[in-house]
Symmetry: C2
Subunit: 152 residues, 2 copies
């Protein structure tokens, strides 16, 4: 049983963005290619990337030979931005969602609120500290510079 988990939206979103980042030299990439490489339903990924586009994280080119590219340099996009675009707030409970304070009605609830704020902040700190460039660097290290893809 896992409860405090990300949905596939966030996970697929990060995978798709990393895929785009890795294949950035190939120009714009068709959704179909990303979906195949990352083993994600193409139609489902379409919905996710639409959200990423509206959030300004990717750019699209329509029509034949169209596709997607990152909207900015990989060092400028954090995992946190991707996750929050797709998942909304990463707060563990409603009462500590940023910008939308949910009113507490109970004293012990207010005591526990401090816990959830700390959890929320630590999650955001972690994901905001990791950029797509960091992931590319890790990916290249795993690739070990010999052309063989290690599936560790």
């Amino acid at each position: 049983m896992i409860v405090m988990r990300l949905s596939t939206k966030g996970r697929y979103g990060v995978k798709a963005m990393l895929d785009l980042a890795i294949h950035t030299s190939e120009g714009h990439i068709a959704l179909k290619n990303i979906a195949e490489r990352q083993e994600i339903s193409e139609h489902y990924l379409e919905q996710l990337i639409a959200t990423l586009r509206k959030a300004g994280l990717v750019k699209s080119i329509r029509g034949a030979q169209g596709g997607y590219t990152l909207a900015q340099d990989p060092s400028q996009t954090t995992v946190g931005e991707i996750l929050r675009a797709l998942e909304g707030s990463l707060a563990p409970v409603d009462c500590v969602v940023e910008d939308e304070p949910f009113e507490c009605t109970n004293a012990t609830q207010c005591v526990t609120k401090k816990i959830w704020e700390k959890v929320r902040d630590s999650i955001n700190d972690v994901v905001d500290s990791i950029t797509l460039q960091d992931l590319i660097d890790d990916y290249k290290k795993m690739n070990n510079n010999d052309g063989y893809m290690y599936y560790i």
Copy 2:
């Protein structure tokens, strides 16, 4: 939209444990009283406290005038123990659940795995650093020593 959220199990569990801790001088406390004070369905709370009992975090006394008490000193029980007893692993994705490594089948997935490990560890660090005694101290501060209960 919040996705990485705790279920009510974890939140209710912490509230119930704090309620027990605050009323510890009254001896064992009936579930009914906790449920009323914390505004939780009594039968639902019953299921949660059964889990806490099996985890060794509370003790029960059956029969009339029975009830529950903390199994150990409030300074010895962390929020993390309560949450993991009720919610299971706090890992954000399956592949980084402690003790149950879920096999990655994809190179980019393995790169992202490092993200989820960091998130998991930071969540656990936060909740393991907070004991019930810390919550009691916060509660007493809020109470402001004048007997009036502030609902901040």
